[in-house]
Amino acid sequence: MLIALLILTAVAFAALALRARRLLTSTLWLAGVSAVVSVVFYLLGARQVAVIELSIGAGLVTVLFVFAISVAGEEAMGARPLLPGVLAWALSILAIGLLGWFVRSLAMPAPPSAEPAFSAMLWGQRGLDVLVQVILIFAGVLGLLGLLAEAKAPLEKSVAEAIMAERDRDLAAMQQRAHDIHREKEIV
């Protein structure tokens, strides 16, 4: 019963994260969802994933969000949603219905007599997944470096704009001078 109560709390936190006006509040509700879900994992017997979820989901990702919000800043959005309310509700109810139907018709296999330990399962049977994780982390770091390296562009752009403005001023001064010389010649 505790598990059901915790999952309902997670759903309520998720709805609050969606409804929160400020992004920072939304992020804190998301951290709450993560923490509650990790407790559910622990109660379900998935202890290793509970620890990973608590440290990464509620810790690292929250820090990342706070950092991104502090860089990008809060932005007031208009009340108008992306899709008309009725359509959004209808589509999400359809998705929930499909997911519910899928879960309901899920045929669970008979429990095996003895399941290997988590480490044996992860490193032995799911070795390819670990390899994919390493590649993903590598690709993520490379992507992040690429994106943050581009952050210098506005600075370079402002320098380029300053140089262009200076050139425009010089050009205008030269044109003015040429115009003056032409005028003097006409007067003479």
Partner: protein, 104 residues
């Protein structure tokens, strides 16, 4: 599964969590909030994996799959937030509606 068993209620909760995220994906306009909604959706998927493991008596299989998903999800969050920050710097907005340049 009987309707009153805790695992069944947990499954229903997982579907509800995914439903909240589905609605958010359709309704939210802020790019950073969109990444938050994606995180909620992935939390529902993780919960589904672990619940499937618990229901079928293969918790460790569910755990190993969930660990992979957590790593992928974190990378998605990092890249998504970096993109949102870049978009804010270059275009000055986080509104999804303003990002579309296609008119027709």
């Amino acid at each position: 599964m009987s309707l009153s068993s805790p695992l069944t209620i947990a499954w229903l909760g997982m579907v509800a969590l995914a439903g909240v995220a589905f609605y958010g994906l359709l309704a939210v306009r802020n790019l950073i909030k969109l990444v938050i909604v994606l995180q909620i959706l992935v939390k529902a998927a993780l919960l589904g994996l672990v619940l499937a493991g618990a229901t079928s008596g293969q918790v460790n299989l569910g755990q190993s799959l969930a660990a992979t998903v957590i790593v992928a999800d974190t990378v998605v969050a990092v890249i998504g937030l970096a993109l949102a920050v870049q978009i804010k710097r270059r275009l000055g907005t986080l509104d999804v509606r303003d990002l579309s340049n296609l008119r027709g």
